[in-house]
């Protein structure tokens, strides 16, 4: 693992991605404390204040400081998306490994079903789920986790099929270990690395999906300063104050870029032969 990290830091994507990640983690941990204003403090005299010394990134339609809202909003945007992706990835990894372990008819049935579920676009699946569960951040995160499961199951299965052929799996079967032991203790740890890389790239999608759901009014609810919601609320005022919309848009983009870079960097670090 340390070896992988060292190689990651030798790729330009890895360095840039890690730097962005450090910034995002700092914003999540200390954003609230570092914010110059309260995120919900209104100032009607300062409505639509342009970016300047008082408000570095300007103020919105209620005179709330955009920078403070961004910093505080990091916490309601990023951790949920990360948690949703990794829990969905874990569930998908279990399904994929199980499918590869069972093989034969079961494998065929599970794979076909996964392919079929993947015919429902992620956003559509998430939309239907959220409309069933009701709007809100947690429900949106749950919907994202579910929509990650099928594609991660497919990725995991292809890795697990190779692991299934290894001697130690045959040995475990010969020892008479139970199926759940073999799947959970023998196979899963050995498919973890590629799964983590795929999941990292998918965090970028999850952040975008989460922001999109909030943008459509189905995720985070006002007065939260979730970034997608900030864009959605600022849309009506984009003629007067484009900066209110540009700041959270760039924050979402930076987060997605960060995880895309990290994922690509990790992939390169694990496949050193592949010089692209």
């Amino acid at each position: 693992m340390t070896d992988t990290l060292r190689r990651l830091m030798h790729t330009p994507q890895g360095v840039l991605g890690c730097a962005l990640l450090v910034g995002l983690v700092l914003a999540c941990l200390f954003g609230g404390a570092a914010a110059p204003y309260q995120p919900e403090a209104m100032d009607f005299a300062g409505r639509f204040a342009a970016p300047g010394i008082k408000h570095w990134l300007g103020a919105d339609q209620l005179g709330r400081d955009v920078l403070s809202r961004l910093l505080v909003g990091a916490r309601s945007t990023i951790p949920l998306a990360v948690a949703a992706t990794f829990s969905g990835a874990a569930a998908g990894a279990c399904v994929g490994t199980l499918s590869a372990y069972l093989g034969g008819w079961w494998d065929e049935a599970i794979t076909r079903t996964i392919d079929a579920v993947m015919a429902v676009p992620h956003l559509l699946l998430a939309l239907i789920l959220v409309s069933t569960l009701g709007k809100g951040s947690l429900n949106a995160a749950f919907a994202i986790a579910i929509s990650v499961v099928p594609s991660m199951a497919r990725v995991t299965r292809s890795v697990a099929l190779a692991v299934r052929q290894q001697e130690y799996i045959k040995a475990a079967i010969a020892r008479g270990e139970s199926g759940s032991w073999i799947v959970l203790r023998e196979m899963l740890p050995n498919v973890a690395a590629p799964v983590i890389i795929e999941a990292t790239i998918r965090v970028a999608f999850a952040v975008m999906l989460f922001a999109t759901l909030s943008f459509l009014g189905l995720g985070a609810q006002p007065p939260a300063s979730e970034w997608g919601l900030m864009v959605s609320e600022a849309r009506r005022f984009m003629h007067q104050a484009p900066w209110v919309i540009v700041a959270p848009s760039l924050a979402i983009a930076a987060t997605a870029i960060c995880f895309n870079l990290l994922g690509d960097g990790l992939r390169d670090a694990l496949n050193p032969r592949d010089e692209r």
Partner: protein, 315 residues
């Protein structure tokens, strides 16, 4: 491509649609809304509610309701909208035709832009053109559609007043106006596709350029243009087709958002209206039609793959 392969492929599509129908029906059944209350409003009398429940078969067990719905679908009957009391099918298919226009144009733009961009980046690997195109593609992949759309609206429609901001005009009505209304939505949807596909084309082209048969083609003295067009392009495009087919999924998701932002009365917008008003038959029909479109697009991509690459034999 044998008949047997086509038949098997068709079976896969049917199985896909069956699973999707179970997922869609199952999820929408869990909706906390009582369809009878949605239909009649909160103040309806218990007798009226009971009558509607009986008429819609809401007292039947879930599997029976599913069966009625599914057999309706097979006859081409998508049910009646709870919001407008109109048949859902025709409304959805008219909306789908508008979405297909948007989606088809986006794919066309993507093919025209992404393939040359990706190949250029591969040929100028490590030079300025490559770096610039990598940066653009990273940005494109990392911007959600709603962000791209609003930024485009601010700059193009608002600051410079170059194009209309929202709305839809049918091409049969006024072609020029129709195109002017479609430019920003198509640009938004195709950006993420161009970004993704051009990266794919780049890495595939680099692989092909390093292969032995390209070296052989060069050594035997073929002009570079011929090598590029006849050997590199064709081999680099093959894996790209698969990616394009998978990207139809993003495309459909992107269309939902873009139609909502630009007020285009396509299937995505219908679906969002259906979800916010909890109009069950419309949600089910919209989701089924979208998933069906995706399954068919994937099958077409597989067929195109087999036609371009004669080595692949499906049997």
């Amino acid at each position: 491509m044998s008949i047997a392969w086509l038949l098997r492929r068709l079976l896969t599509v049917l199985y896909t649609l069956l699973v999707v129908s179970i997922v869609v029906f199952g999820l929408t059944q869990l909706l906390p809304a009582d369809a009878a209350v949605t239909l009649l409003g909160e103040n309806a009398t218990p007798e009226a509610l009971a009558a509607v429940r009986l008429r819609l078969g809401l007292n039947d067990p879930a599997w029976l309701q599913y069966w009625h719905w599914l057999s309706g679908l097979l006859r081409g009957d998508f049910g009646t909208s709870m919001r407008t009391d109109q048949p859902v099918g025709p409304t959805m298919f008219i909306a789908l035709s508008r979405s297909l226009l948007l989606g088809g144009l986006s794919i066309a733009v993507m093919l025209v832009a992404a393939i040359p961009l990706g190949m250029l980046a591969a040929l100028r690997r490590g030079k300025a053109a490559d770096v610039v195109s990598s940066l653009i593609s990273y940005l494109g992949v990392s911007l959600p559609e709603f962000v791209t759309a609003t930024l485009l609206l601010i700059v193009v429609a608002d600051q410079f007043q170059l194009l209309p901001a929202t709305g839809y005009v049918a091409p049969s009505e006024n072609l020029v106006d129709s195109i002017r209304h479609l430019i920003l939505p198509v640009a938004t949807v195709s950006l993420i596709l161009v970004a993704h596909v051009s990266r794919m084309v780049r890495s595939e082209t680099i692989d092909v350029l390093n292969s032995d048969y390209i070296r052989a083609a060069r050594l035997k003295g073929l002009p570079p243009r011929i090598v590029l067009m006849r050997h590199v392009l064709r081999n680099a495009l093959l894996p790209t087709i698969t990616i394009v087919a998978l990207d139809v999924g993003y495309l459909l998701g992107g269309i939902i958002v873009v139609e909502e932002i630009f007020a285009i009365p396509g299937i995505g917008r219908q679906l969002i209206v259906a979800i916010t008003t909890r109009d069950l038959p419309s949600i089910q029909a919209g989701a089924m039609i979208m998933a069906g479109t995706y399954a068919i697009a994937n099958t077409l991509a597989d067929m195109a793959y087999a036609m371009i690459d004669k080595r692949i034999r499906y049997d």
